[in-house]
């Protein structure tokens, strides 16, 4: 069994990815923290297709794509509705009531993968997957507008092997709005005060010493790290056209296979790179 034995060596291992197509309703109805230009659906879809194409074609993952649901304008952000660690999947109770139904489709697909499914049924709990940072050694859960203490507790109960530390998140939507894992022991972190403060909190709370990769732009700190057997360290990061300075930082990662991906449209509705997929590692077990 994978269990804890996987350790860091297995961090980022991934065989499957769950994604969900964009509904057209996203353009106008998706939740967004700040008003701004409308989403260019066509372009958003191109970017999404590129994203999925990388996962499937370039990285060889089995991509399970759920159909879009027009009644769920935010459904493309599948990360928020499920937290998968090893063989266990926690179906969340998203902080935004309008998104709660997104879980249903996710549940079905995860069941098809024979994961141990845990559902968050407590009506007092809310948790968005975007607030959950799994480092391979422990969880950090951002306490944000979307995620509360109770939700974090349920996550801790679900993944009992790991320490679960809470991190206050004030200025951004999610914890992972300004950070993510860029490697087995590497945290990518934005440069904003809030981001740095959160990082300090995480560092204090952890028994482990993480390396950090500080990028100028908070949004660019959200990247997707994968450990693909045939390709080694793979990092999907924001394109240089979007965040040139941050891209330069990523380009210094010599050991990583770097794949720039633009995410300009979904970013308008608070979407980031990790939001659009749930990564699952099924191979390691059996």
């Amino acid at each position: 069994m994978a269990g804890l034995s996987g350790g860091l060596a297995a961090f980022g291992r991934c065989t499957h990815a769950v994604v969900r197509a964009l509904p057209e309703s996203l353009c106008r109805q998706a939740l967004r923290s700040t008003a701004g230009p409308e989403v260019d659906f066509a372009r958003a879809e191109r970017e999404y297709q590129l994203y999925v194409g990388v996962l499937r074609g370039k990285l060889g993952l089995q991509v399970l794509e759920l159909p879009a649901d027009e009644s769920l304008p935010d459904c493309v952000f599948v990360e928020d509705v499920a937290v998968v660690c090893e063989e266990t999947a926690l179906l969340t109770r998203p902080g935004a009531p309008s998104r709660r139904k997104e879980v249903e489709a996710m549940k079905r697909v995860l069941e098809s993968l024979n994961l141990n499914i845990v559902e968050m049924v407590d009506e007092n709990a809310t948790l968005d997957g975007g607030d959950v940072l799994f480092t391979g050694r422990e969880f950090f859960v951002g306490l944000s507008k979307r995620t509360n203490q109770r939700g974090a507790e349920i996550l801790a109960d679900t993944f009992k092997d790991y320490a679960v530390s809470t991190v206050p998140v004030h200025d951004s939507l999610h914890l992972k709005s300004f950070c993510s894992m860029a490697g087995p022991n590497l945290i990518a972190i934005g440069s904003s005060e809030a981001a740095q403060k959160a990082l300090k909190t995480m560092q204090q709370m952890s028994d482990h010493r993480y390396d950090k990769l500080t990028v100028p732009d908070d949004a660019a700190a959200n990247c997707v790290y994968l450990n693909i057997p045939s390709k080694g360290h793979v990092l999907l990061h924001r394109a240089p056209e979007e965040y040139p300075e941050s891209a330069k930082v990523f380009e210094k990662l010599k050991d990583h296979m770097l794949i720039p991906i633009a995410n300009t449209e979904l970013e308008k509705v608070d979407g980031s790179l990790t939001c659009c997929s749930v990564l699952i590692n099924k191979a390691s077990e059996l």
Binding site: G3, Q149, A156, K160, A163, K200
Partner: protein
Amino acid sequence: MTTEVGSETEVKKDSEQLGPDKAKDKPEEASETPGDQKSREASPGEAQDSSVPAPTSQSSPSSQKKEKSSPESKGISRFLPPWLKKQKSYTLAEPKDEPKKRATGEEQVVEESESQAQPRKSLEEAAENQENAKADDKEKHSISSAEIQPSKEDGKETEVEEVAEKKEEKQEEKENRETKEVQTAEIKIDNVPQKSPKKIKTVQCKVMLLDGTEYSCDLEKRAKGQVLFDKVCEHLNLLEKDYFGLLFYENSEQKNWLDSSKEIKRQIRSLPWIFTFNVKFYPPDPSQLTEDITRYFLCLQLRQDIASGRLPCSFVTHALLGSYTLQAELGDHDPEEHRSDYISEFQFAPNQTQEMEEKVAELHKTHRGLTPAQADSQFLENAKRLSMYGVDLHHAKDSEGVDIMLGVCANGLLIYKDRLRINRFAWPKILKISYKRSNFYIKVRPAELEQFESTIGFKLPNHRAAKRLWKVCVEHHTFFRLVSPEQPPKAKFLTLGSKFRYSGRTQAQTRQASNLIDRPAPYFERTSSKRVSRSLDGAPMGVSDQSLLRDFSAAGGRAAGDKIIDLEATGQDKLKEGGREEDESPLKTPQLELTQDGKISSLRVDGENIYVRHSNLMLEDLDKTQDDLLKHQASISELKRNFMESTPEPRPNEWEKRRITPLSLQTQGSSHETLDIVEEKKQAEFGIEETLVVDETNKGKMQVATDAGETCKVEHVSKKDSSSLPSDSSSSSSSSESEDEEVGEYLPHHRAIEEVIREEQEEEEDMKRKEHEENTQRVEAIPEGSKLNVPVEHTQVTAEDLVQENTVTVAAEEKNLSEQIKQDLGEEKEEEQLKLNGDVSHVDIDVAPQLICCSEPPVVKTEMVTISDATQRTEISTKEIPIVQTETKTITYESSQLDGNAGGDTGVLVSAQTITSESISTTTTTHITKMVKGGVSETRIEKRIVITGDADIDHDEALAQAIKEAKEQHPDMSVTRVVVHKETELAEEDED
């Protein structure tokens, strides 16, 4: 020096043995002993019989036990030792010793101890006439040993004598043991085996073992925890025992660790003598354990933890760990033998489901080929990653009354709310741990960009819970964070009030010791966790009938022995950890001989126990490790080295008289025991008046100073804790942290106090400035042969050297007595070991008190958060460059700024404490003085470290490390003076 040292140590030893006894027991014993002796004597075959007839007839186990216990029992040991002759010899030797000591001007302490010892002796003599023959033999032995020792000891007469005595005792013990069954543990503890069962009141004791079985034995009523613990470890054939401990329960919830350095009776009070053997310090990396048997016991503990739910883990992990358990206990999965329900008999999880059992079985099949030891290792590799592995949880409330859990672990203190970790304080970040009443406080180093330290308070359910948590913290910090044993774990977290300190070995030490384990892998039988599963909570099993226990004492002992023999025929060797091996051997002889012969013989040749060897090795290793640590501190070490190099000539150092660690060879194997610190003695009056007053240090200042300072190491700048001072203004201050907001939920205190703190800080800063000026740092190095005395003073305000010395000595006398006594035991053992090994030099470091603190209980008033100060960092300027003389070198570093006022201003002495700790090669004396001048409180810590060792020892490094440690321990304090006095001992005994 050596001579003095020896005397001191001896005294200490005596005092320790006797001292504790004296303090606690003596009065009682004096009254009780006669009766006890009589009663016991009357009682057939126990004490006396054992001592006398034992050799030939091997007294019943009970007798042995009694003997053992008796030795352990403090002062009694001397009395008891039937070895009247021994006593006689003692008496003879002692008087001699005393005069010598006095002549040398050795410490009063010694005298006192001796005096105490003598009366005891007289008593013993009176009581013990029976064993003349044996005594004679013993005397002979003792004499021989004594003679030998002196030569080894370089003419420390007193020490030698004492040593001789000890040796005699030991020898006697050995003899007795040989004939009789002796338990090693006791011997170790008590150096002096009390052979006369007379006074011994035995108590039946039960220990619940990790495999679910019970171990019973009789203990002398006043036996210390160490005796029982050693017995249990011996029974278990466990050498790497420092990770383990004995628990007793006040109730189902409240578990307490039995303090091995204290009497059991005083700890458990009226509770039944029932204990639980448990893992106390969970090794972060079990793969570094040396022996499989140790890992096995750790596995048993973890299985209990997991099955009881104390160690939560996921379904998958439950299944995985369960499968390794099956593999370890049942071997490869056998389709025929292991049918469907074989798993149900095991308990893997609190809520075990059919699904889980199926998963376990499935995984079990995949482990084919793994040996039990491999399966255990795999089990541990997975278990150690669990987030709650090794976390000792305590219920508490934060400042706002919210229920939280405080988790103490290897890395620090974790704060949980429900299942979530809401904060964490790594040990390096914690400056002080204290408790008062039911409140528990941690003083935290300021975060980046923060100027002030903060103190965080938690509310525990009651006072005892607060103290328990505090003790656990102190122990964990010491065990996991400190490299060397002696290090003053004590000093670091000094809380005013409690004397408690971790007395065992640190993880670093135990690892080094473990490396020396040289025995064939002991055979042990893995018991099925089926049994274990039933009694998972670790709560004490029911109290077994006393009748059983009683029976046990009589017949039980043998029974146990027999069992042991069966199982241990191969492994008994193992049991002989501390040289007690000998003891056991007699009993088991027939069976054991085969295996033991080789080892025993070798051991005896060396005259040491395995532990002894370890200790030697340990020293070496420690030095190495220290070296690594000390790299940064090159400057000081270099200076020292220069001295060393220049002065090859050995001369005895007289420097410190306080604690002399006698080098007695064989005697005690065990060792480590003890770092006892007596904090509470209030010697305020000693005339420390001169001491300085420095409040709180300013970091900024500190840095500046450091620049100038040549010795970076010294300069580390310690932050003084003004907060600790009860009297002063500083006490009530609190600081706010930037992080408070985030963590704010529990740290509300800070904010409230912040304002106060700031104000105080300002004041403090001023004070600090003044202090800086005042601070004088001296490093005096006087090369003495092998011993280095390094007084390191952390006092912000530097008092005059004279003053310091005076205070030290004064305080030392009284306090030292007790302290030394305690330490003596440990030191003697260590030293002895060293000598035995021969090559290894003894390093005695006396660290003079580093201290901190106030005589009063921990810091803060109930809910007040005190934050004292800012850090002052003073530099050490070298005023004098070390003079290198062949024989004696003294180097003094003084801070650029001296306290002009020191002499003139006489503050009010608030408190003074002296703490002495001894390790194998070092003796540390810490003297803490609090002064209040003009409303400003000053805490001054003087630390004197005596390092005794052969040329082989790198004194420089030892010194550097000592300084470093001192700095680390008192980050708040500034080092005002460092004096290195080095003396080279001549082969001759005479002092310089």
